[in-house]
């Protein structure tokens, strides 16, 4: 009999560069994705979508579709009401109907669904549905919508989940779904006393995550129960939300995931799950809804933003005051947008030591596809603005951009704009390492003729979204082998492997020998969600505590069996002695929620706004062709503070992966809408994401030497950090090369060329 004992010979697991536990399954094509799932008697659902940005539904004629051979059924919101009488869902607001009810609010909103055993028939039948709308005026721009008479929703309906949104309940006559504010000192006094005042506006565009496994959910009705198989980053939330919609106890709803073919925030909270649940209950058969790549663009996106920033600077180059006004284009449904507005909004003044700060951050409804979480949770939009602004100030004052940041950066122990003292945020170290990797002080070759070179650096930070809960269980079997139960979703970040490393580190078991159970709410305990780089910190602690709990129980068992106090704690051996055969389990449980002080409503002040800060910095060199505006990235240095890297090999891939994703958003990705809100480029034929030709020949990646004192094994998250500094660094490098400043993303060759023409007083005509 082979036994796997918890032996002290295998100790440190954290810090090993380990290949993913599922690596072999992934290279052989056998990895499990919900995309692959087929259930007996399953029906496919295809969605009929709104062609209008804003309108009242007059009629929906589904008769021709229903009559088509092979169609099982056609369903509208009126049918949904039969199984879910109050069909509005959402994590922050209960504002999104499962299918459009009374009104459509954006082009692409789901209006009806056809079910058929053959997906081609279901799709064909959607073309036979005829909807008639009474068109309403629509609003698309976030700043306009904040004060528009065109109302996307008649009344605000906060979900009640988040206490800081409760004050919005029942508010009418506005598209502003959240108005977050922060006040520190007095900015007006600072502006009056300043040697210099700078004011600029920056914008970002709407983009889509485009996970290569498009969103997919299946629901399987049972006997008073329902099982939802879904490519979701938040199975625990889906269970709670579906139970709420159905008025059922949580334990009647089972939600399970598999590996995700990418998430990036697109597969968070609740997306298709309510729809497949309602359809499965109506059809009394399993239902699968698998979106196409095109349909993903109509489901969830990244917020476009407008950021107006005003900064007071002293004669010696210190920032003394900063006023930030940020408008977030949330689209037609809030999703998690109000939380993005607050949680990123409070960092809008940047990682700088500023006495006087005023921030107003607005989540705004518009008639565009909804916006929600996207790798960075709003931080990349903030960093784009405050780091662009920093570079523009440094240029105006003729201060080196690294030096300008050195003078102003938040150092250990100093209060952030929220009042929270900075702890374990290696901002200065990340800045210095970026500068060192760029050979910042060495002479720089600037090119000649039509090819000019420039460089830039940028740094950003993110507060870990708090407070949230993770629970984990560790089970040791009769042979001593270890299984970890966790609802963290592995969507490519190698969380299963990190969990095995952390559990193994406590238990003295090699991570490769540990099995990590994929999320299944019937089996794995609660976890808030896999988002915002929270899992390493929260689930890491929960797993650590569960493993420590198992060790305590082993010790107790050893004492019960009269073993000497110094005897090794071998689970298999102890369980065999206890039960007389290979039997039984040792089960350890751990749960974790960090401490937190919620911000004052009027001022945004809190002495403990976050358990930790994640830091990312970027340095770039570019070559710009003055004849075409083409930008070539020559150098791409990315440095993060993630505390202890749990699995350095994976951390490296996370650093470059996140940086390249942000490179695409910086350089070319943009959802293009026409004047009536029709999206023109919802496919890879017209929406370009980074390919293998778009990356430079070498990409620098570094984790600074740091330790997160309240983190598991000194660690904190890393999945988003290298997105932060990319965009502004490239904009600065372009100005450094050819003298033009771009303040809107993306930084396309056309935008550069137009700016070059304008600088020569020969502006090009608008499109």
């Amino acid at each position: 009999m082979t036994t796997i004992e918890t032996t002290p010979e295998v100790t440190r697991q954290v810090g090993r560069s380990l290949n993913r536990l599922e690596a072999r399954a992934k290279v052989t094509g056998r990895a499990e994705y919900i995309h692959n799932l087929v259930l007996p008697r399953m029906l496919y659902g295809k969605i009929f979508r709104s062609t209008l940005a804003h309108g009242r539904i007059v009629s929906i004629d589904v008769s021709a579709a229903r009559d088509m051979e092979g169609v099982y059924g056609v369903y509208t919101a009126q049918d949904i009401l039969r199984v879910i009488p109050d069909p509005y869902f959402g994590p922050a607001f209960h504002d999104q109907p499962i299918l459009a009810l009374d009104k459509v609010r954006y082009v692409g909103e789901p209006v009806a669904v056809v079910l058929a055993a053959d997906p081609h028939i279901a799709e064909e039948a959607t073309h036979l549905i005829v909807a008639e709308y009474k068109e309403l005026p629509a609003v698309f721009n976030e700043v306009e919508a904040a004060s528009s008479d065109v109302l996307v929703h008649d009344i605000l309906k906060p979900a009640g989940t988040f206490p800081d949104l409760k004050h919005l309940a029942g508010r009418k006559g506005t598209n502003v779904a959240l108005d977050f504010q922060l006040r520190r000192g007095n900015v007006e006094t600072a502006f009056a006393a300043a040697a210099h005042v700078f004011e600029d506006t920056f914008t970002t565009q709407q983009v889509m995550h485009t996970p290569l496994e498009p969103m997919v959910s299946l629901a399987e009705p049972g006997d008073g129960t329902i099982t939802i198989h879904t490519a979701s980053q938040s199975p625990s939330f889906v269970r709670i939300e579906i139970a709420r919609l159905l008025g059922w106890a949580e334990n009647r709803v089972r939600v399970r995931t598999a590996l995700l073919g990418g998430g990036f925030g697109a597969k968070l909270y609740i997306k298709l799950e309510a729809l497949v649940t309602a359809l499965a209950l109506l059809a009394r058969r399993p239902v699968k809804v698998a979106l196409t790549m095109e349909e993903q663009f109509f489901t969830i996106t990244k917020h476009a933003t407008t950021f107006r920033m005003k900064t007071a600077v002293s004669a010696d180059g210190r920032i003394t005051g900063r006023k930030c006004d940020v408008w977030w284009n949330g689209g037609a449904y809030a999703d998690i947008g109000p939380r993005v507005t607050q949680k990123s909004g409070f960092t809008a003044s940047g990682p700088y030591d500023i006495e006087n700060v005023s921030i107003d951050s607005y989540a705004v409804y518009t008639n565009l596809p909804p916006a929600g979480a996207f790798r960075g949770f709003g931080i990349p939009q903030m960093v784009w603005a405050y780091e662009s602004h920093a570079d523009m100030i440094a240029r105006a004052l003729k201060i080196d951009p690294v030096e300008f940041r050195r003078r102003n950066i938040l150092r250990e122990g100093r209060p952030h704009a929220t009042g929270t003292p900075m702890r374990d945020a290696a901002l200065d170290l990340v800045l210095e390492r970026v500068a060192a990797r760029m050979n910042w002080t060495a002479p720089f070759e600037r090119g000649a003729g039509t090819l000019r070179r420039g460089r830039g650096i940028g740094i950003g930070f993110k507060a870990l979204v708090a407070p949230t809960t993770s629970v984990a269980m560790v089970s040791l079997a009769g042979d001593g082998s270890c299984t970890v139960y966790s609802s963290t979703v592995d969507m490519g970040q190698a969380s299963d492997t990190a969990i095995a490393l952390m559990a193994g580190d406590v238990l003295g078991i090699a991570a490769e020998k540990i099995k990590v159970i994929r999320p299944d709410t019937d089996v794995t305990p609660y976890d808030m969600a896999t988002l915002g780089s929270r899992s390493t910190f929260h689930m890491g602690h929960a797993v650590r505590l569960a493993a420590e709990d198992a060790l305590v129980k082993l010790r107790e068992l050893a004492d019960e069996l009269g073993m000497p106090a110094d005897a090794p704690l071998a689970a298999g051996e102890l369980l065999r002695r206890k039960y007389g055969m290979q039997a039984g389990n040792i089960v350890g449980v751990g749960s974790f929620i960090p401490s937190y002080t919620k911000p004052e409503h009027e001022t945004g002040q809190s002495e403990n706004i976050t358990p930790n800060w994640m830091v990312g910095g970027c340095g770039v060199e570019v070559e710009v062709d003055t004849e075409t505006g083409h930008i070539r990235l020559i150098r791409f240095e990315n440095v993060v503070d993630c505390g202890t890297p749990i699995n350095p090999k994976v951390v490296d891939t996370q650093i470059s992966g996140a940086a390249i994703m942000q490179l695409g958003i910086t350089m070319f990705e943009r959802m293009e809408f026409d004047e009536v809100g029709q999206l023109r480029n919802a496919s890879f034929a017209e929406y370009k994401i980074p390919g293998i030709h778009d990356i430079p020949s070498t990409i620098g990646r570094e984790t600074v030497d740091s330790y997160q004192h309240n983190g598991p094994f000194g660690a904190k998250g890393v999945g988003e950090s290298s997105t932060f500094g990319v965009a502004s660094a490239i904009a600065e490098a372009i100005e450094d090369a050819v003298g033009v400043r771009l303040t809107s993303l993306p930084l396309t060759p056309e935008a550069v060329f137009r700016a070059l023409c304008a600088a020569k007083h020969e502006p090009m005509p608008e499109e």
Partner: protein, 162 residues
């Protein structure tokens, strides 16, 4: 079976098979729905991302665009065939060694294309690797590791032959 359905015969991963299909079915649908081979996947649905790559008569094709009827009488190979002897292909080993994937959804396509490249050009330059893989997208952006993996696989294949 409908009036339009046809029967195709082909060799799938070394085994003679047949399938009743409709003329509009792609090889990708047939592989997934009739043969439960899930290594090739539909992502963009337009032949632009490479997730659906399979080999038909020794040539890589986008399975989401390639009509199954056209495989009649031919030979189809999917990623699942590469370790049929129980051993991983050197390209698969190199992808693991270099950590050349994150979510893994695009990996089958990259592996089949990398093998095809090395079959045609056993010692590709980095520029040739990039050119050959430019039709495959990886949203996790494991491109630096993928390039390293192809270089490593080229070395491993040479050592196997030597």
């Amino acid at each position: 079976m409908s009036a339009t359905s046809i029967t195709i015969h082909f060799v799938l991963n070394g085994e003679r098979v047949s399938a009743e299909i409709e003329p509009h079915h792609t090889i990708l649908e047939v592989l997934r729905q009739r043969f439960a081979l899930y290594g090739a996947r539909e992502s963009c649905g337009q032949g632009l991302c490479g997730c659906c790559t399979v080999l038909v008569n020794g040539e890589s094709v986008s399975g989401c665009l390639f009509l199954a009827a056209m495989a009649d009488g031919g030979e189809v190979v999917t990623v699942e065939h590469l370790d049929s002897e129980g051993q991983l292909d050197p390209v698969q080993q190199a992808f693991i060694e270099c950590g050349a994937f994150q979510c893994g959804f695009c990996t089958s396509g990259f592996i089949l294309m990398s093998r095809e490249l090395l079959d045609r050009n056993p010692d590709p330059s980095e520029a040739e690797i990039r050119h050959y893989l430019s039709g495959n997208l990886c949203r996790c952006a494991a491109y630096p590791e993928i390039i390293e993996a192809v270089k490593l696989a080229a070395q491993m294949r040479k050592q196997t032959l030597a």
